[in-house]
C-alpha cells in the first residue's frame, strides 16, 4: 500500500473580512467622474432648455408690443385694428392678451410690480390711481400734448385725469345702462315692450310699476326669472343709488351709508329674496356672468346692463330682443357711465413703439375698429359714428344707452385705495344681498370697513 503523502499543514491565515458581491472593480476614477459628468450634463441640458423656453420669440427685425385687456369680444376688434396698424408700420407687431376680469386687476398689480406686465394695458377708473402714484404709467399729457384730449370723449378724459395730467388714452365709453328685454318672453306674458320705457321703481308701492311687472314676468320656480337684480356695481346698484338720490362715494371715500342708498338696496334685496323675481344671490354674488348667461339662454325676461354686453347678446340670443330705457327712480332716471383707457407701461423696453401704438389706438382710424364690429363705443369722438351705423344696420336701436346720459349721472367710483376698500365691503354686500344681513346694519359696517381698508 502506498501511503499517501500527508498534506502539508496549512498555516492559519487571518480570515479576510467577508465582502458582499461588489460590482466589477471599476477601473477608475474615470467611471465615477463620468457619472458626475453625466449628471452635470443632464442638468446643463435641462437648464439650457429652460433658457431656450425663456427666450423671447421675437420675429427678427420686428418689435413686439403686447396689449392686455379683459373683454373677449373687443379683443377681436383690436386684432383687426392692429393688423391694419402693422400694415402701416411694418416694423411693429402687436399682440393681444386677454385676461379674465375677475382676476384682471389682481394679476395686473403683481405683473406690473414684477416687471412682466404687457406694454399697454386697459385700466379702469376704479383701479388706476396706485399705478399713477408709483410712476408706472406713461404720462399721456406729456407724450401727446394737451391738445390731444380735444378728440376724446370728455367724460372718459375726466375719469383718467389725476394730478391734472392724463394717464391713459381713452378707448371706450360704456355709454349708459339700459334694459335688454326678451321680446318672446314678454309677448308670452302679454307685456307690450313699449311700457318698459316708462317703468318706475319706488319704495312706495303705490308708485312702483316695476315690481308688479316683474311678478308678471317671472315664471315657474327658478326656471324663469324676470330681472337681474344682483350685487352688480355698474349694471345695477350704482344706478339705483343714483336714481334714489343717494351717493356711493365722495371723492376717494366710500359714502354709501345714506338713507337714499339704503332705500335702493332694500328694494333690490326684496326683489331677490322676497319676490324671487331675480336669481338667488348665491348664484350671482361671485359670478358676474350668471345673469347674462341666463338671459342668453332665454331664462330671464329683462336684463339690465351696458353696451359691454350688446355684442354678446346680438351674437348669441336665440330669441327676439330689444333695448329699452332703464327704470326711473324717485330722483329720476340716473345711470352710471364708465370709460376705459389704454395705459402705457412706463417700464416697457420699447417706449417709442408703445407711443406709436398708443397714438394709433387714440386716433380715429385705429379706434374706429372697435365701433365697426359694434363691440364697443369708441372714445374717439370722430370714430363714434361707426358704432351707431353698425347697430342701425342691424336694426338694433341703441338710443336707450345714450339717451339716458342726457339726464343726471352718477360717477363711477375710484381712488387710490379703491381696490382694497371694495374688497373689504364685498363680504358685507354679499351677505346683504343674500338677505342674511339687514341693509341698515350692512351699510355702516361695510362703509367703515371699506374706508379703513382704503386708507391703509
Amino acid at each position: 500500500m502506498i501511503a499517501r503523502p500527508d498534506r502539508p499543514d496549512r498555516p492559519d491565515r487571518p480570515k479576510r473580512p467577508k465582502q458582499p458581491k461588489q460590482p466589477k472593480r471599476p477601473t477608475r476614477p474615470k467611471f465615477s467622474t463620468l457619472t458626475a459628468l453625466s449628471l452635470a450634463a443632464a442638468m446643463a441640458l435641462l437648464l439650457v432648455s429652460a433658457v431656450t423656453l425663456g427666450r423671447e420669440t421675437e420675429p427678427p427685425g420686428r418689435t413686439v408690443v403686447t396689449v392686455r385687456l379683459w373683454d373677449q369680444q373687443v379683443a377681436g376688434a383690436y386684432r383687426r385694428s392692429f393688423d391694419e396698424f402693422t400694415r402701416r408700420h411694418p416694423g411693429i407687431e402687436v399682440r393681444v392678451n386677454v385676461v379674465a376680469f375677475s382676476t384682471y386687476f389682481d394679476t395686473l398689480r403683481t405683473d406690473v410690480a414684477g416687471g412682466s406686465a404687457d406694454d399697454i394695458f386697459w385700466i379702469s377708473n376704479a383701479y388706476f390711481a396706485p399705478y399713477v402714484d408709483s410712476g408706472r404709467l406713461v404720462d399721456v399729457t406729456s407724450s401727446f400734448g394737451p391738445q390731444a384730449v380735444a378728440g376724446w370723449e370728455p367724460s372718459v378724459v375726466d375719469q383718467f385725469t389725476r394730478d391734472r395730467r392724463l394717464w391713459g388714452v381713452p378707448q371706450l365709453t360704456d355709454a349708459g345702462i339700459a334694459l335688454y328685454y326678451n321680446a318672446d318672453l314678454l309677448s308670452a306674458a302679454g307685456v307690450d315692450p313699449a311700457v318698459l320705457d316708462s317703468l318706475r321703481w319706488s319704495p312706495d308701492d303705490t308708485v312702483d310699476t316695476l315690481r308688479p311687472l316683474l311678478s308678471r314676468l317671472a315664471g315657474g320656480r327658478g326656471r324663469q326669472w324676470a330681472y337681474n337684480a344682483a350685487n352688480d356695481l355698474q349694471g345695477i346698484y350704482l344706478n339705483y343709488i343714483g336714481s334714489a338720490g343717494g351717493v356711493f362715494s365722495v371723492g376717494d371715500r366710500f359714502a354709501f351709508d345714506n338713507a337714499q342708498a339704503a332705500e335702493a338696496f332694500r328694494y333690490l334685496v326684496r326683489l331677490i329674496n322676497v319676490d324671487k323675481v331675480a336669481p338667488p344671490a348665491s348664484a350671482t354674488n361671485d359670478n358676474g356672468d350668471f345673469s347674462r348667461n341666463m338671459f342668453l339662454q332665454g331664462r330671464m325676461a329683462l336684463f339690465q346692463s351696458g353696451t359691454y354686453n350688446l355684442a354678446a347678446v346680438a351674437a348669441n340670443a336665440p330669441f327676439r330682443w330689444g333695448v329699452a330705457l332703464l327704470p326711473a327712480g324717485p330722483a329720476g332716471r340716473v345711470s352710471v357711465t364708465n370709460g376705459i383707457a389704454a395705459a402705457g407701461n412706463s417700464a416697457s423696453p420699447h417706449p417709442e413703439s408703445v407711443r406709436e401704438v398708443l397714438a394709433w389706438m387714440g386716433g380715429t382710424d385705429g379706434n374706429a375698429y372697435l365701433g365697426v364690429g359694434g363691440a364697443a363705443v369708441p372714445a374717439v369722438l370722430a370714430a363714434q359714428r361707426t358704432y351707431f351705423d353698425y347697430w342701425a344696420a342691424k336694426g338694433v336701436d341703441v338710443a336707450p344707452f345714450f339717451d339716458v346720459l342726457h339726464g343726471p349721472r352718477i360717477s363711477a367710483p375710484g381712488g387710490a385705495g379703491f381696490a382694497a376698500g371694495f374688497n373689504a365691503l364685498k363680504p358685507y354686500f354679499d351677505e346683504m344681498f343674500l338677505g342674511r344681513l339687514d341693509v341698515a346694519q350692512a351699510l355702516p359696517q361695510a362703509q367703515t370697513a371699506a374706508n379703513a381698508a382704503a386708507e391703509r
Binding site: 461588489q22 429652460a50 425663456g54 382676476t103 403683481t110 410690480a113 414684477g114 416687471g115 358676474g288
Partner: protein, 275 residues
C-alpha cells in the same frame, strides 16, 4: 380558518371597502365624464348625462389656452428640482453620515431646526427677496428655493447612509477610491430604495406645488399646471366642461405614474413617515 362570524364580517369589510372605493372614485369619474361632454349639451341638458357624442373639444380648448407650454414648463421645473435636490442632498447626507469634521452636529441640528419653518411663512419674504433680485417671473425663481437640497431628504438619507456597513466603504477606500468613487460605487447602489422613494416624493410635491408658482410667476410664459388650472377656473367661470378637462390633465400624469409605481410610492409614504 374562518369561523362563521369571521365570514360575515369579511363580507361586511368588503362592503365597507367598496363604499370607500366608490366615494373615492366617483368624483374623478364624474369629472372625466364631464370633460368629454360638449359645452352645449352640458348647458342644455342635466349635468350628469352621458356625453351624447363624447367630444375632445374641451381638450382642444386647453391647447388653445396654452396648456401645451404649461406642461412643458412644469415638467422642466420638476426635472431640474428633482435632479438638483437629490444630488445635493445625497452629498450633504453623506458628509453628515460618514465624515467627521468640526461643526458637523451643530450644522446638522440647524438643518433639522429648519424643518419647523412652515412654507406659508417663507412665501412672503421669499417673494420680496426674489423681487429685490429682479427674479420675479423667471424660471430661476421657480426652482432656486428648492434645488439646493432639502433638509427633509438630507435627514432621511443620513439615517439610511448610517446603516451602510463601514466595511464596504473602508474596503473601497483601501482600493484607492476617492470620496466621489465611494459615493457612486458604494453608497448610491446600496441606497436605491430610498433614492427611488425620495425621487417619487419630490416629483409629487413639486408637480403639485401651487402657492409659490402662483405668487412668483404671472402671465403665460412660466405658468405651471397648477396655476393654469386655477386660472382656467376664473377665466372661464361656469364653463365646467373646459375646467374639468383642465383638472383631468392636471391629475392624469400623476395618477398614471402612481398606478405604475404604486408599490414604491406606498412604501415610500410609510417609510418616510415612520422614521
Amino acid at each position: 380558518m374562518t369561523s362563521p362570524s369571521r365570514a360575515i364580517s369579511s363580507a361586511a369589510v368588503y362592503a365597507m371597502l367598496g363604499v370607500g372605493a366608490i366615494i373615492t372614485l366617483a368624483p374623478f369619474v364624474f369629472g372625466v365624464v364631464t370633460s368629454f361632454t360638449s359645452a352645449r349639451q352640458f348647458a342644455t341638458g342635466t349635468p350628469l348625462q352621458v356625453p351624447d357624442p363624447p367630444t375632445v373639444a374641451n381638450y382642444a380648448g386647453l391647447a388653445d389656452a396654452g396648456f401645451g407650454r404649461t406642461v412643458v414648463v412644469t415638467a422642466l421645473m420638476t426635472a431640474v428640482i428633482v435632479l438638483g435636490q437629490l444630488t445635493f442632498s445625497v452629498l450633504a447626507a453623506y458628509a453628515f453620515a460618514r465624515l467627521t469634521f468640526r461643526g458637523r452636529d451643530a450644522i446638522f441640528w440647524a438643518y433639522i431646526a429648519t424643518l419647523m419653518v412652515p412654507p406659508t411663512v417663507t412665501i412672503v419674504p421669499l417673494y420680496l427677496m426674489m423681487a429685490q433680485a429682479g427674479l420675479r417671473n423667471t424660471f430661476w425663481a421657480l426652482v432656486l428655493p428648492f434645488v439646493f437640497g432639502s433638509p427633509y431628504a438630507i435627514f432621511l438619507l443620513r439615517e439610511y447612509f448610517r446603516t451602510i456597513p463601514a466595511d464596504l466603504i473602508n474596503a473601497a477606500r483601501l482600493d484607492g477610491a476617492s470620496t466621489l468613487d465611494v459615493l457612486v460605487h458604494v453608497v448610491i447602489p446600496v441606497s436605491k430604495p430610498i433614492l427611488v422613494t425620495l425621487t417619487l416624493i419630490t416629483v409629487v410635491s413639486q408637480w403639485n406645488n401651487f402657492m409659490w408658482p402662483l405668487v412668483i410667476t404671472s402671465g403665460p410664459k412660466w405658468r405651471v399646471l397648477t396655476v393654469a388650472t386655477a386660472g382656467l377656473q376664473s377665466q372661464y367661470n361656469g364653463q365646467w366642461t373646459l375646467v374639468m378637462a383642465a383638472t383631468t390633465v392636471a391629475t392624469v400624469p400623476l395618477i398614471v405614474a402612481f398606478v405604475a409605481f404604486q408599490r414604491h410610492i406606498v412604501r415610500s409614504i410609510v417609510v418616510t413617515g415612520l422614521k
